[in-house]
Symmetry: C2
Subunit: 143 residues, 2 copies
């Protein structure tokens, strides 16, 4: 347990019609995930989200809402990451690039049929609850 | 511009009746601020918020809402920090401790009469708008 600050990152829930964009990861941990990545030095989280969405899916996204910031030290086995999660809209079709081997659309109703890397199934569940019931993630749920 | 990841931190808006807790900082930048501080390695942001509130105000807080995560690279002149801001309730009277020279209550209606360190005036304005109108900070406002 060396003293090393947690690493800020972002993940983006990109809506296209009634589907969201899921990627297949090129690097460990392999599997499906939301597009996202680390925040660069001197970069805001909003700019990081737009940049990472473009790099991994080739989409130009419009951020329109903020879901929550996920920081459970167990959410990433490699190191402690703290991810701010945005909700965005886009048009067109995603194509996997950079750290994403593939990028594809999954209808919102089918999202929970799959398994995901990191805590992304939790994030996706929170997103669906928010869309269906208007209930946002609450800090009490993380204590 | 060396490659150094931004530092995650937390700030806490602590409500006691119709006032919130403001501290006077012991270290640079001096001045008034919300209680808060850096997230420790392997610590969740929720635990960091409860810990920092206790250290600086001696209050036991109950986190009940999340405002936004503020990451403008200019928000702190010393280094790039990314702060997740919680809204909490507490009982009793705050007392300044640790990095806080003083801690005191300011009625919500008087909050914007003061100047604050970092981007805390912006955060407090966003909080007041949220409490009065139900409008949360939106990512578009940070682009």
């Amino acid at each position: 347990m060396e003293f090393k600050s947690p690493m800020p990152c972002v993940d983006i829930i990109i809506e296209i019609d009634h589907s969201i964009v899921i990627i297949e990861r090129k690097h460990e941990p392999l599997g499906f995930a939301l597009p996202g990545g680390f925040v660069d030095p001197w970069e805001s989280i909003e700019h990081a989200a737009i940049r990472e969405a473009k790099e991994e899916t080739l989409l130009d996204v419009e951020l329109y809402d903020f879901l929550y910031t996920y920081s459970d030290p167990k959410r990433d086995k490699r190191l402690h990451t703290i991810s701010s999660v945005f909700i965005a809209k886009a048009k067109g079709s995603p194509r996997g690039a950079d750290d994403a081997k593939k990028a594809f659309l999954v209808p919102i109703n089918d999202l929970l049929k799959y398994e995901y890397a990191f805590d992304h199934k939790r994030i996706i569940s929170d997103y669906i609850r928010y869309k269906e019931k208007g209930i946002r993630p609450n800090p009490k749920e993380f204590l």
